[in-house]
Symmetry: C2
């Protein structure tokens, strides 16, 4: 989830985006510092596990979105240290919750690697991973309670519970290859998109000189759409991406019994209703790591246009996300958010 960043957005760099990036970098450095000073501890027994968070940190997509969203509603944000400090805190809070969910996800997914490095549970065992995740949740809620208003802590608590609800629903849907598109979209909106949407919503709330519900709602919608598109792209890469670039084996979702959009679209096609049983047998062989079966699966998904169909769903969400930015004044930050959205699908890992 970390590959979309200010740097990707810079791919289609403009002078304006360059200015945004110049103010973004020091803001992200402040987020990193806020985050580290808040979880650091002199106790070796605790530091041994906490130091792992350093390896986990990606390109800080959520803090990036929180800051650029704040900038989109208040171009003078970098000069207002109080507002900037609150946006930095919001970015650190949401990144901490994201890191906690990554640590627990690695236990759930039994992944031994995270960004090419050993996952916490691979390095220290799953007990350590469970407790480190709990510790990060606790530090995040603590940091959130340092903000002047409780409204943000309420929102963060509500959203975190919904992320867990999405995880529970996905768990309940394991091996349910008859999952509907609607179920799939609701699950990814909760487990992936909500925290991204919250970064945009709360970044704009704390960055604004005066509250503007319409701006917060437009940015929440933008984040939800970009986050959903990003998860669809993740699912496509898991099926058809390059394992080397991904740093993890292909087809893990199928091995874990997770229905993803291309599979759901394929089983929805008239052509496939007659062939569900052999297709399930094919999935079982893919789950066992049979590479020929994996090639056959890609061919089958192509034959019904299900890979292209999933890509179209992601692209239409990116288009809607950019459209939602229309509610904001035209600024370099808004252009940067549009570039971030476009960059979301141009990645191989």
């Amino acid at each position: 989830m970390e590959c979309m960043s200010a740097i990707d957005a810079n791919a289609q760099n403009t002078q304006a985006n360059g200015d945004v990036v110049r103010t973004l970098r020091p803001a992200l450095d402040r987020v990193a510092h806020r985050l580290e000073e808040h979880i650091d501890t002199p106790e070796p027994a605790v530091a041994k596990f906490v130091q792992h968070v350093e390896h986990l940190r990606g390109k800080m997509l959520r803090p990036t979105l929180a800051f650029v969203s704040g900038l989109a509603v208040n171009p003078k944000l970098p000069e207002d240290d109080k507002l900037l400090d609150d946006v930095v805190t919001v970015g650190a809070v949401i990144e901490l919750i994201h890191l906690a969910t990554l640590v627990h996800d690695d236990v759930l997914d039994e992944s031994d690697e995270r960004r090419g490095k050993p996952s916490v549970h691979a390095a220290h065992g799953q007990h350590a991973a469970i407790i480190l995740g709990d510790y990060l949740f606790a530090r995040s809620f603590h940091l959130c309670s340092t903000l002047d208003t409780q409204a943000t802590a309420l929102r963060v608590g509500e959203i975190t519970a919904l992320v867990c609800a999405g995880e529970m629903e996905q768990m309940g849907g394991r091996d349910d290859w008859a999952m509907t598109k609607d179920d799939y979209f609701r699950i990814i909106e909760r487990k992936t998109a909500l925290l991204i949407g919250a970064a945009c919503e709360l970044g704009s709330r704390h960055g604004a000189t005066s509250p503007n519900r319409a701006h917060e709602q437009a940015l929440l919608r933008y984040g939800l759409l970009v986050g959903s598109a990003f998860q669809i792209q993740d699912d496509l890469l898991d099926l058809a991406g390059d394992p080397k670039a991904l740093g993890k084996p292909a087809g893990r979702d199928i091995a874990m019994g997770k229905p993803t959009l291309p599979i759901i679209l394929h089983l929805d096609t008239a052509a496939c209703r007659t062939c569900a049983r052999p297709f399930h047998a094919l999935l079982a062989r893919v789950a066992e790591g049979d590479e020929d079966a994996h090639d056959d699966l890609i061919d089958a998904l192509d034959s019904t246009g299900s890979l292209a169909g999933a890509r179209d769903e992601a692209m239409s969400r990116i288009a809607q996300a950019i459209e939602s930015l229309g509610a904001l004044p035209e600024t370099p930050a808004r252009a940067h958010l549009a570039a971030l959205a476009e960059g979301a699908l141009n990645r191989q890992a």
Copy 2:
């Protein structure tokens, strides 16, 4: 941890304590209702797991202590609905965090039973247990943020992080039979006593008509001492208790490589310094479930007075806890807190 309750305190009932219990029962009903309405959900995929929390609930020690602590600083608490409502919220918040840690502890300890019922991870797998625990943490912090003041959310976040730090330290100390008494006491204070102390501290903070730091500190100290004594008693029961009454096999701590006070005291004795190696061999046989070895272990611990020594440590903490109540006005609630402390060690499960 749930066996100390208003009901046990009633063992040594007095008219005064009877009055406390009469106001306690409706308060605990309100806590149970606040807790349930806050975690309930109409979504079957989520409700399937959340319903387990119902089985997990014990006698609500922490909400009991929050309410009685509030009553000890404000005898009119039951008539002040705003203050009472905040104390009910504090009780529900701390009980939710306790339940979240129980759900994750069962994964850490690989326990299949909790109070004679299947644990969440035994019933639904450890993935469900990890996510349900995360969900309960999130709902707890959300509920905490509904209070007027952020100070309590800050304190709860700080304490929850320290509880996790205690768990990490205990994990780091697995199979370290050379652990010192000081290390052991610091670990149990964090992983068990802090949340109990916080219930007393925050119950009195929200129950008081005007803030009184001295009362909060005295009740925090009371809770820390009672909580530590309670954990020592737990450790004694795990070694020498009746498995039927406990609803779990004896000697689990040794099987999990957890040094507990009687073992530490035994290895501290001059008599044992010469016999550490054979004693470690004995512990290894106990860990394998050898019942003769377990009897030999009890004899060895008795021979150095280590079981009695651990019991004395627990009793002296109870005495200090009751002494700490001297900072509070003499009320039926204060007498009830003293009775709760005395009841803490009179249990077989």
